[in-house]
């Protein structure tokens, strides 16, 4: 069976510090991968998605970036965090040939 992991689970970072969130998927190959952000009590905002190694599509201009160095690894980064980057970051994966999308447990980021 497939499993998606995210770490860290929670993170408190000062404004201006760098960020690296990691997502890995087990039990599948060549998945589509996604990063979402969810502000407190709000909906899901798609940030990036990837259909293959090194292939990244950005949905929202911001100070975040994403990379996919390996088939089942997706990384969300920032060089300098802003207060507005606080939120719940969710990674999701989808089998390449189907419609279903499955979410990870999320990372709660608080920028102080």
């Amino acid at each position: 069976s497939q499993t998606i992991h995210q770490w860290p689970a929670t993170l408190v970072q000062p404004v201006g510090s760098p960020l690296s969130l990691e997502c890995t998927v087990e039990g599948t190959s060549n998945p589509n991968l996604y990063w979402y952000r969810q502000a407190a009590g709000r909906g899901l905002q798609l940030l990036f998605y990837s259909v293959g190694i090194g292939q990244i599509s950005s949905e929202v201009p911001q100070n975040l970036s994403a990379s996919r160095p390996q088939d089942r690894q997706f990384i969300l980064s920032s060089k300098k965090l802003l207060l507005s980057d606080s939120g719940f970051y969710l990674c999701a994966w989808a089998p390449g040939t189907t419609y279903e999308q499955y979410f990870g447990p999320g990372t709660r980021l608080t920028v102080t």
Partner: protein, 114 residues
């Protein structure tokens, strides 16, 4: 422009009641409509999904009703329980190769009181 409109924003029902959450869409290219359930502090979980070639789909106590002509779909929860208290999101996806994104509604916070 919000492409999937979800209502209501919040909903309170008594145990055993049948909460109904509605979603409407504009883009006729959508051909996959899932519902997600999210508990506080957790990632959303895929609950049930429907394609436009059927008008209804049931999985346990959860039912999706789909009205293609009205471009609307809804989630019904039969015999609701306090454990169903969560935020529910509808979503839609376009058909065709090269379409990878889900478009989400803004969510409905459901509270089921004992």
């Amino acid at each position: 422009q919000q492409q999937v409109k979800q209502s209501p924003q919040s909903l309170i029902v008594q145990k055993g009641g049948i909460p109904i959450i509605n979603c409407a869409y504009e883009n006729t290219a959508f051909d996959y409509f899932p519902w997600y359930q999210q508990f506080p502090g957790k990632g959303p979980a895929l609950l049930i999904a429907i394609r436009p070639d059927v008008s209804e789909k049931k999985e346990g106590r959860f039912t999706i009703s789909f009205n293609k002509s009205a471009k609307q779909f809804s989630l019904h929860i039969m015999d609701s329980q306090p454990g169903d208290s969560a935020t529910y999101f509808c979503a839609a996806k376009k058909a065709g190769a090269g379409s990878y994104q889900l478009t989400f509604g803004k969510g409905t916070k459901l509270s089921v009181i004992p």
